[in-house]
């Protein structure tokens, strides 16, 4: 493997580890905070639950995408 390839792989591996740590904490927090509330919503107010579910997944997508982009940029600069 050439130098650039090895460097990209290293940056990616580090990104994966940091991202994994962030996400584990995030998931545990979200599941802990939201599970009962979402369950109640799902059983009692289906339409609200549907809208909240869509907003949650879109919000998470935007948040995690921003997180991975930032991490990647930061690590690239750090290893340069």
């Amino acid at each position: 493997m050439n130098k650039v390839g090895a460097k990209s792989l290293r940056v990616f591996a580090i990104e994966l580890v940091i991202y994994g740590a962030f996400v584990t904490a995030y998931v545990l927090l979200v599941l802990h905070l939201l599970d009962k509330w979402l369950y109640r919503l799902e059983t009692q107010h289906r339409v609200t639950y549907a809208i909240v579910a869509l907003l949650l997944i879109v919000g998470q997508a935007v948040f995690l995408d921003a997180l991975t982009t930032l991490l990647f940029r930061f690590l690239r600069r750090f290893w340069r």
Partner: protein, 306 residues
């Protein structure tokens, strides 16, 4: 971990790993990965109606990220994507209604399992046949012209595609981004309706139907089909999530956990598309639906749970 909405116990690491794998597939092939996600949830004892709805929710998040990246790479035909969204939404609703009818009849798991097996298997066989034929044709052409463009997109189904494009069913539109001079709106709507139907019925974005249909029926170059499919999935899967959630088929907590793995996987997949030619991407796609077939058969034979 207990997920109260779908009443199942699943390890969150398992969900994140499944998300990661289908994230790579989504970024690389432009498919939602429901032929893996649905059976993978089913394997953990989630009922098919929940597997379908939850997978759709997870795919919304994943596709937003991958579609944005494909848009940056110039792989999205916005005009085509918007037209397709109309057909897909109609199809998704029809598929969701059929799931409801099967749920009421009490045989949703058996019927969806068998339909999944037939659909996934047929797609694999067709793509294997087509991509190998295309690669053989490409090899012959290259031996004649030494300096042939390696990344040029070819299809052994090209003559059928041209006939379809020549059908004069008013209204006709042009798709300059995809290099199509004229095509009937009805053909686009029909292709997207069928894709939407499978999305509503089997879950996911139904990219396993729509992506090959875009390449072989509409004649969209593979790289553009991948990106446009993802863009269109964002719209159709959002609708699918709403309608399935209202019908009580979405466990959003499972979708959120799966999506954390998909984010990182999608990045790898998108970058990988830049290193492969169209027929090779399609050939690499072949074994994936077969994995789904294997899992569904296993759940049918073993009584659904580990």
């Amino acid at each position: 971990m207990f997920f109260p909405i779908s009443n199942t116990h699943i390890d969150p690491i398992y969900l994140a790993v499944v998300g990661f794998v289908i994230g790579i597939l989504g970024g690389f092939f432009g498919v939602g990965g429901s032929f893996i996600a649905g059976p993978a949830l089913r394997l953990m004892g989630v009922d098919w109606n929940y597997a379908v709805g939850t997978d759709l929710a997870h795919i919304v998040g994943k596709s937003i990220v991958a579609a944005r990246q494909h848009r940056t790479l110039g792989n999205v035909d916005l005009k085509l994507g918007l037209f397709m969204a109309f057909g897909t939404i109609g199809g998704a609703e029809a598929g969701a209604q059929l799931i409801q009818a099967l749920k009421r009849a009490g045989n949703v798991n058996t019927v969806v399992s068998w339909v999944a097996i037939v659909v996934y298997f047929s797609i694999s066989i067709f793509m294997l046949w087509e991509s190998q034929k295309t690669l053989r044709l490409d090899k012959k052409r290259r031996s004649r012209r030494k300096n042939a463009d390696v990344k040029k997109d070819q299809s052994a189904f090209g003559h059928v595609t041209k006939k379809i494009q020549r059908l004069k069913l008013w209204p006709m539109i042009d798709l300059p981004t995809s290099g199509i001079r004229q095509i009937s709106v009805w053909i686009i709507l029909l292709v997207s309706f069928v894709g939407g139907f499978f999305s509503g019925f089997l879950g996911g974005g139904a990219g396993y139907i729509r992506m090959p249909s875009m390449v072989y029926v509409l004649g969209i170059p593979t790289h553009l089909a991948v990106g446009t499919d993802l863009f269109e999935i964002v719209i159709s899967a959002s609708y699918g999530t709403l309608t399935h959630a209202i019908k009580g088929n979405v466990d959003i907590l499972i979708a959120l956990v799966m999506h954390t793995g998909a984010v990182i996987g999608a990045q790898i997949g998108v970058v990988a598309t830049q290193y492969f030619a169209g027929p090779k991407i399609r050939l690499a796609f072949v074994p994936l639906p077969l994995i789904g077939v294997a899992i569904v058969i296993y759940t049918l034979v073993s009584g659904h749970k580990f």
